[in-house]
């Protein structure tokens, strides 16, 4: 099934709802096509195309909820899915936290999440884009491993209370690691966009190649506290732990880094440096995201951290009702305000420090302090008197993004990046941080 238009989706969902006998019924329809090329050792390895669609029916009687799905769309199949969800709802135990489905919402004008040229990519185009990357490796006598994936999809929601929402989205995602033949140097670059026109696999591969060639013959520095410049692809994997942790309920329950003694929280308090401003905005032209979230709530422009102060927390609908506050959904597409300096400017302004391309294998160590561990990877360089002096061996770090953002020295210019851990896109600046804690050395290249 190709991507359904809004009218086709509306018609199919209306038909599905017409079979409902439940007190409330909600139907979600989503689907799409994705294709990818994976390569390694300067050669294509696996690649493929996947097409899948799914209809989920949720029926409720009182506070009893049941869900069922089907991936066939004839009348009999639609009715079967509705009946099954109703049967399950009757079997399910009552959930005191069940919330009635939302009524109609005003989502405003759609955001430009869908770009036709991305949806129209051919296998030849994908192969050409990868070929450009492989050519860089060949020209530089490096070994490339990378991944290019394009996708186009749609999602729609409708319920018996009159809610309807529809969205389409495209994505093109590229990452490449270049390694020297002797295995002593490695460089990395990654980007993701809605619009294939912005994806320059040649340029990004050259960045990775330059880092690979420049990272051979590393010197070992003693572990300890260093000033670091985190490129956006490195910074996002720690930042996302912070804004992903702004959940009101766990803070209220006393089991979050935002919790305080006596059942209080840090909401409204200054948590990090006052130059830190983090918000989300579905209409941002560089990072457009859906106007609605999975349960139909409106995604609005919202500030999460303003001048270092925790401005908003996100809520489940149940917890918001219990607390008598607005049910703000979690962020989708984070933007952190930056400055005007380029990455090169940040390096120039650094007396002694370490430039970090990528952070890897990020895992929580202590939820109380939001302490995380992980390692640098694929291009770590020592800076002295404003210049990159030499590559250094990789480090393991143990650091909290809260501490990190309190030790902020400078912010560069915001750019779009993608997390190598979660796959989420964000607009964030390169960050210069003092006293970043490296706890041991790694022999890995």
């Amino acid at each position: 099934m190709a991507i359904l238009t809004e009218e086709q989706a509306r018609a199919l969902l209306t038909k599905a709802l017409s079979y409902s006998k439940a007190e409330q019924c909600e139907v979600n329809l989503s689907g799409g096509d994705s294709s990818n090329i994976r390569y390694a050792r300067n050669s294509v390895s696996t690649s493929g195309g996947i097409s899948r669609n799914s209809l989920v029916v949720s029926s409720a009687f009182g506070k009893k909820l049941g869900t069922a799905t089907i991936n066939e769309f004839d009348d009999a199949s639609l009715e079967k899915a509705v009946r099954r969800s109703e049967e399950l709802a009757q079997l399910a135990p009552e959930n005191p936290e069940f919330m009635p489905f939302l009524g109609p919402q005003n989502y405003g004008a759609p955001t430009p999440t869908f770009v036709q040229s991305t949806a129209d990519i051919t296998p030849k185009q994908r192969a050409d884009m990868v070929q450009q990357s492989l050519q860089v490796a060949k020209d530089s006598k490096l070994t490339a491993a990378g991944f290019l994936e394009s996708s186009a999809g749609f999602s729609a929601i409708m319920n018996s209370k009159g809610l309807f929402a529809y969205n389409t989205a495209t994505d093109i995602n590229f990452s490449v690691t270049m390694r020297t033949a002797d295995g002593k140097g490695s460089g990395y670059a990654t980007k993701a966009f809605n619009d294939v026109g912005k994806m320059d696999t040649l340029a990004f591969s050259k960045v990775a190649a330059r880092k690979a060639s420049g990272s051979v013959n590393t010197k070992a520095l003693e572990p300890g506290k260093y000033t670091v410049i985190l490129e956006p692809a490195a910074g996002i994997v720690l930042l996302e732990q912070l804004y992903g942790g702004l959940d009101a309920r766990s803070a209220d329950e006393g089991r979050s880094f935002l919790s305080k003694a006596g059942g209080k929280t840090r909401w409204g308090e200054k948590l990090v440096d006052e130059r830190v401003n983090i918000y989300s905005d579905p209409a941002n032209p560089e990072l457009p995201t859906s106007r609605w979230n999975g349960d139909g709530r409106v995604q609005e422009k919202i500030s999460w951290i303003e001048k270092g102060v925790v401005k908003n927390l996100f809520y489940s609908r149940y917890w918001a009702q219990k607390k008598g506050v607005k049910a703000t959904p979690g962020p989708d597409g984070i933007i952190m305000e930056g400055g005007t300096q380029s990455l090169e400017d940040l390096v120039k302004g650094t007396e002694k420090g370490i430039l970090v391309t990528r952070l890897w294998y990020i895992r929580p160590v202590d939820p109380q302090t939001l302490l995380y561990t992980g390692l640098t990877r694929d291009g770590t360089f020592y800076i002295e008197n404003g210049q990159i002096k030499f590559p250094v061996k990789n480090f393991r770090f143990n650091e909290s993004p809260v501490i990190m953002l309190n030790n902020l020295e400078a912010l560069g210019k915001t750019e779009r990046t993608v997390s190598g851990e979660s796959g989420q896109n964000a607009l964030i600046p390169p960050m210069k941080i003092r006293d970043f804690t490296f706890s041991s050395l790694s022999d890995a290249v």
Partner: protein, 535 residues
């Protein structure tokens, strides 16, 4: 990578929800699957494929998710479709579809061939497959005693609510619990002449009990000491003979007493709040199998994957320090003489046990580390020739019909010591040490040298005795140094399986389930750091 119990609230829901009775449907008849497979294989061949395989998969999950006295969610998911893999012009191609009518699957076969042909210009050398005989029509089923999908939902809900009740009555402020069931019904066919029908079951009960100190606002959680298993609901039917007692907390072999463990967890979460913060330095570590499985997974399992060694995972999961020259030397001392590591796709009750892998190879077991020396890797049909194999080791797996199969880790386990030795006897000889039970934080570099691990429970050992509980503990080491510091392994009576339900690898990332067995083992002079911070 792996996901531990700490990910309780972030369990990925693969597939889509379905009604409870639907999971008991037998699915389509094997004869029909064979007809569909033949259509696809013929379509691929007629378009120029020199090899083709297809997998018709029905992947069922069930989640029962609770907290305190509430059932948060009850989800049945099903994912059904077909994945087709071909070699054309010497290059792999893959296509997957959830439309299983004749036209759609033939079209998908054609798409797989077209992708292979288009991408063959990006290839430096053609794919070489190790030979594989066709098995004809065969089948395999996980040897379960009680199908967990057939256990009434009420029974499962009642169990989890009893678990939560036990933890709350023992002093927990919060408790989350989850029962996660998997049934993979998959049919594989290839142009080699195999038609393989398999029915695979897995189960993972897990909880976390949290205790908060309202005065200090500190909180601690103790996660369950269960492990995910390739078993039916019998895993949740406690048996005294499967309990190990005399240790600081009861430990479990092949049957798990979830209620008993929850009660202990609530008490221990409170003890963790009051425990002494560790003094950093060198300690001898006594690692329980409920903890050691994850260290084995990350520092032995991943670096011995041949695809990583060769560079196929360089862009994401990484490469490996166990390069081919180390294996070729036949004398690379990966660990001490006490370290014997077995790769195993047969072990009953394990997550990795199947009859055949996802490219039609009958499964087996083999040595990876023998008396501390690296002797072999884990590999599949298109890589085995590089290390001189004449038949595949059967490590190919795809996590869904829509995912392309590739090399995944078999069960990788530390073999028990030959001399009689129990954990508490092992502790008697330790002057300054820490006994670690349960898994927690884990991180390792992309070539698997430098790692850091934490646990659920830490007990300080002084002069052969446990003197109290510690907190804020993590150990850092280098893989080769660590395994060479292994000075003793307890005997077979202490052997237990741990494992990961969500080992992530590949792009797009796929999850795989794998077990790691061991007995309690001792490691001398390992570096301990203190993880306490203030924000």
């Amino acid at each position: 990578m792996g996901f531990g119990g700490a990910m309780l609230s972030q369990i990925p829901v693969m597939g889509s929800p379905i009604a409870p009775e639907a999971v008991l449907d037998g699915g389509i008849d094997v004869a029909v699957k064979k007809q569909m497979a033949d259509i696809v294989l013929n379509a691929a061949r007629s378009r120029g494929a020199t090899y083709a395989d297809c997998r018709i998969g029905r992947y069922l999950n069930q989640y029962v998710i609770t907290r305190e006295n509430k059932v948060e969610n009850l989800v049945n998911t099903e994912s059904y479709g077909m994945g087709i893999r071909v070699i054309a012009n010497g290059c792999w191609g893959f296509a997957a579809t959830d439309k299983l009518d004749t036209d759609s699957i033939a079209k998908a076969a054609a798409q797989a061939v077209a992708i292979a042909k288009e991408n063959s210009r990006l290839q430096s050398e053609p794919v070489k497959l190790l030979p594989q005989k066709g098995y004809g029509e065969v089948s395999w089923k996980t040897p379960i005693e009680r199908n967990a999908f057939e256990v009434p939902i009420k029974e499962k809900v009642d169990l989890l609510l009893s678990v939560n009740d036990a933890a709350m009555k023992a002093g927990a402020n919060y408790v989350n619990s989850l029962l996660f069931l998997v049934n993979e019904q998959k049919y594989f066919a290839s142009t080699d002449g195999s038609y393989i029908d398999q029915d695979i079951h897995r189960i993972w009960p897990v909880f976390g009990a949290t205790k908060i100190d309202p005065k200090t606002s500190k909180f601690e959680t103790r996660q369950s000491l269960s492990s995910p298993r390739g078993m039916g609901y019998e895993y949740l039917m406690p048996r005294e003979s499967d309990k190990i007692k005399g240790t600081p907390t009861v430990l479990y072999r092949d049957r798990y007493d979830m209620i008993e463990d929850a009660r202990a967890a609530a008490i221990q979460a409170d003890q963790k709040l009051k425990a002494k913060s560790v003094e950093p330095g060198k300690y001898d570590l006594i690692l329980d199998p409920s903890h050691l499985w994850l260290t084995i997974h990350e520092s032995v399992g991943h670096p011995t994957e041949l695809d990583r060694v060769l560079g196929y995972e360089a862009n994401f999961a990484g490469t490996s320090f166990l390069t081919l020259d180390k294996w070729e030397s036949k004398k690379f001392q990966f660990g001490s003489k006490n370290v014997n590591i077995l790769a195993d796709k047969l072990q009953p009750g394990s997550l990795g046990a199947v009859g055949y892998d996802d490219e039609g190879v009958k499964t087996k077991q083999w040595d990876i580390i023998k008396d501390g020396v690296l002797v072999n890797y884990q590999s599949i049909r298109d890589q085995g020739h590089i290390i001189g194999l004449t038949e595949s080791q059967g490590c190919c797996y795809a996590d869904n019909w829509s995912s392309v199969q590739f090399q995944r880790m078999p069960n990788i386990s530390l073999q028990a010591g030959n001399s009689p030795l129990k954990p508490m006897d092992m502790i008697k000889n330790v002057e300054k040490g820490i006994y670690i039970i349960g898994d927690s934080s884990f991180s390792i570099d992309q070539q698997r040298y430098n790692f850091q691990f934490s646990g659920q429970l830490y007990y300080e050992i002084k002069n052969g005795k446990i003197v109290g509980m510690l907190n804020d503990v993590a150990y850092q080491s280098n893989t080769q140094e660590f395994w060479n510091s292994c000075s003793a392994v307890c005997d077979q009576s202490d052997y237990r399986l741990g494992g990961s339900f969500f080992d992530g690898k590949g792009q797009p990332m796929q999850s795989s389930a794998v077990s790691h067995g061991s007995s309690t083992a001792r490691f001398n002079g390992v570096n301990i750091i203190n993880t306490a911070r203030k924000i």
